[in-house]
């Protein structure tokens, strides 16, 4: 008599456990892209100190309901004001230099691929029945 076997519970376990690390792998791609964009500063580069680059960071993955989420960002208001625009006292102009959102758009496909590749690698480690 044939016996039904399944490793679906193991697959589910690996999928759930892999989401967090996979998000971290994807996030690192974005972090690297943002850092490259910030490296030269926002204007001539003469005033770039490396502070913005050193403050690019991420949260830990957090489970919210059925979803796992992670945020990439900075605690520097300076970066926010350049990203969304500000009235500049020295130039007298409205200034805006976007780095974060263009980095996200440019990295989106690579991030998705990296996320998927990590999950796939973890699933490949499950012993076949």
């Amino acid at each position: 008599m044939a016996t039904w076997k399944t490793n679906i519970p193991e697959i589910n376990r690996v999928l759930l456990q892999s989401r967090g690390p996979a998000l971290i792998v994807a996030a690192q791609i974005l972090i690297n892209a943002v850092k490259r964009g910030l490296r030269g500063g926002y204007t001539s580069g003469d005033f770039a100190t490396g502070t913005s680059v050193n403050h690019v960071t991420r949260t830990d993955p957090v489970a919210i309901g059925d979803e796992m989420k992670l945020a990439v960002g900075t605690n520097l208001l300076y970066d926010l004001m350049w990203e969304i625009g500000h009235h500049n006292l020295y130039t007298g102009r409205y200034e805006r230099v976007e780095v974060w959102v263009p980095a996200l758009h440019a990295s989106a496909v690579q991030m998705k691929n990296a996320y998927g590749a990590y999950i796939k690698a973890q699933l490949a480690r499950i012993r076949p029945l």
């Binding site: 208001l77 004001m81 969304i84 625009g85 500000h86 009235h87 006292l89 409205y94």
Partner: protein, 154 residues
């Protein structure tokens, strides 16, 4: 779609939404939003050295549905100086949200707006002008524009 009016270009879509906002009079009366923004509502870049209350807007879309449907955002930033004008700026932001509440325009293509995300801007550090008060609203926008739809007209 047979009316090549406002949605015959991306800039046309922006003008359509800007006109809606600037000409809007709230329920209960009072002036239009345009009367509260003497510096105007500019596209992408605010004028240099602007001191009066003004808004800056920008559209961003991705195309879907065989390339005929635009889904994206209208980002609006409202500014005034000095910082004591923060309440005025918040009031203008309230009115803008009212103007686009359940708004849809089908005179040229179809444009409509659903939700939005709104933030009062913090005091930014040097070299930003600390005396500028600001609010940022990002409106969700969906559009079936004429400039794309005309290619599938029978």
């Amino acid at each position: 779609m047979t009316k090549p009016l406002d949605t015959n270009s991306l800039l046309g879509i922006f003008r359509l939404m800007r006109d809606r906002i600037m000409n809007f009079t709230p329920q209960g009366g009072g002036g239009t939003i345009g009367s509260l923004l003497p510096g105007g509502f500019q596209y992408i870049q605010a004028a240099d050295g602007l001191k009066t209350a003004h808004a800056v807007g920008r559209l961003g879309f991705r195309r879907e549905n065989n390339g005929l449907r635009l889904e994206g955002t209208l980002e609006v930033q409202i500014y005034a100086r000095p910082r004591s004008k923060q309440e005025d700026v918040e009031h203008i932001a309230d009115l803008m949200q009212e103007a686009l509440l359940q708004w849809a325009d089908a005179r040229s293509g179809v444009v409509f707006s659903g939700g939005d995300v709104r933030d009062s801007l913090p005091i930014f550090p040097d070299p930003a002008d600390r005396e500028v008060a600001g609010v940022r609203i990002v409106f969700d926008v969906v559009c079936w524009p004429y400039y794309l739809g005309k290619y599938v007209e029978s």
